[in-house]
């Protein structure tokens, strides 16, 4: 039985532990050889490191390759004819329902994404910057700690803040306790995945239960909103009114859409914000430049997502025999594509191991690529920019010299457990 009141910080660490890769801190050196010598390698590297596999979530023994070069990774993600994402329905899709966007293709995907897209457009989201995002980060999360002069950037800000932003924008009631409980449930679904064959059956039962609990909590909120009249700019109100080529959603479908978005909506932003600040602290010259010129914040974010992407792996399945880097991959084989490796591919990025916010923009796969490009990307960018700006406004911000330095860890879903910072209060 899954603990419904599972605490947020504990669930976050459970997800980090799943992808820890047996204490892997710096996976990037090993990708040099893999990329050059075996660009399309037999087996899933995630399995070798004991992490959950997207390419074979039920551990059926499906043939699988790992793809390491940028051109090949981009091709797999962009070519939706030769590469299908339907296999994702065996993993998270089996818990999150049959409208999980990342697992859909063709017309079903086009219609559902078309229905959602208007709410997620940068132009439509801008209004939330002033009404929700900036006030939350500055007033609710940073102001109460200001006089203290120190905090754990992960526990005090990067973990709770995106959750409160996303739930506020979705239109959930402003009840911090409820919001954190829902967020805990959403993380429980992710934490229930496993790379351990002995735990697979129980893990799937737990994930299914967590998903059902979350659905049971969301559905009455949707029904109440519909009864109230569906006014407002929030996502739930938008979904109650939305129509795309004749597609309209009932309460059950809206509950499924909302539930599908929750596990994707928060802790990816947590890790991305934390990784960005860690890499800036490690490069004091760049930190000083960004602090002095805030137009550089988006560049720093993009380069941080290249340098150390959170979503390091995605998976697809070949719909026919396909060739990548002169290796023929048989129809039905899954590809576990390494964004972490692709982002250090010297064919695309000069001096790839250097963090350089001035490098020419090349195809960045950090939010995915192709038709499944992260729908929430504009939300994440607004959230991260607002948080970085608020943090850089803290006088003399630095890492806390009396606390252990932050350590980004994992084979994928990379992030630090804590980032202790201090400033002049």
């Amino acid at each position: 039985m899954v603990d419904n009141k599972a605490d947020l910080a504990g669930q976050f660490l459970s997800v980090s532990d799943l992808y820890d890769g047996a204490g892997l801190v710096d996976p990037f050196p090993m990708y040099v050889d893999l990329r050059e010598k075996t660009p399309v390698a037999e087996g899933d590297i995630l399995a070798r490191y004991g992490a959950p596999q997207q390419g074979d979530a039920t551990q059926s023994g499906r043939p699988i390759v790992t793809v390491y070069r940028h051109a090949d990774v981009a091709e797999v993600l962009r070519n939706q004819v030769d590469w299908s994402s339907a296999l994702l329905m065996e993993g998270l899709g089996s818990f999150l329902g049959d409208i999980m966007l990342t697992g859909l293709g063709g017309d079903a995907h086009r219609k559902m994404r078309g229905l959602l897209q208007p709410w997620f457009s940068p132009a439509s989201l801008k209004k939330f910057n002033d009404s929700v995002i900036v006030p939350l980060v500055r007033d609710r999360f940073i102001a109460p700690l200001y006089a203290k002069g120190c905090m754990d950037l992960v526990g005090n800000l990067a973990l709770p803040y995106p959750i409160h932003v996303v739930y506020g924008m979705m239109g959930f009631p402003d009840d911090p306790t409820m919001v954190e409980r829902f967020a805990g449930q959403a993380l429980t679904i992710l934490a229930s995945l496993t790379g351990d064959p002995d735990k697979l059956e129980q893990a799937r039962i737990d994930a299914f239960q967590a998903a059902q609990d979350l659905y049971d909590d969301i559905k009455p909120i949707i029904a109440a909103r519909r009864a109230y009249g569906a006014a407002g700019d929030d996502l739930i109100a938008f979904l109650l009114r939305a129509e795309f080529e004749g597609l309209k959603l009932d309460d059950h479908q809206i509950a499924n859409v909302v539930r599908m978005l929750l596990p994707a909506a928060a802790e990816t932003t947590t890790r991305t914000l934390a990784n960005l600040m860690v890499v800036l602290f490690a490069h004091p010259g760049t930190l000083a430049r960004v602090r002095a010129d805030r137009t550089l914040v988006p560049k720093a974010m993009n380069e941080s997502m290249r340098f150390d992407p959170v979503a390091g792996y995605l998976a697809r399945q070949a719909t026919r025999d396909v060739t990548l880097s002169d290796v023929t991959i048989a129809e039905g084989t899954a590809a576990s594509v390494s964004i972490s490796s692709a982002h250090r591919d010297p064919r695309v990025f000069e001096n790839p191991d250097i963090f350089d916010i001035d490098r020419p923009a090349k195809v960045n796969l950090g939010f995915g690529y192709g038709i499944h490009l992260c729908l929430g990307m504009p939300v994440a960018k607004l959230e991260i920019e607002a948080a970085v700006n608020a943090l850089l406004d803290l006088p003399n911000l630095s890492l806390d010299p009396d606390m252990p330095p932050p350590q980004v860890r994992g084979i994928t879903m990379r992030g630090p457990d804590a980032v202790h910072i201090v400033w002049d209060a």
Binding site: R113, G370, L373
Partner: protein
Amino acid sequence: MTELNVITRLGVSRTITAQSGLSVMEALRDNGMDELLALCGGCCSCATCHVHVDPASFDALPTMTEDENDLLDSSSHRNDYSRLSCQMQIDDMPAGMTVTIAQED
């Protein structure tokens, strides 16, 4: 090979040579126009390859699909001559076309 005139976000004009068979977006990227993000890679799923086409050429282009039209609606910088450059083919382009890279949303 066809010539395409480009005006960057900073207002700098350039003429690039574009290969047959490519989309305008791919031609811009191949010529190092990195400010054109084209985040989804050209499958009409974002609006980050948004350009404004010169009015004379605009009408000579094949009409846009509903999907492209919907995505352009999501940009604050849409005008009467907006297109997604991934949805225009070099081979369909009228001679002497100029595209201005739209401001980022």
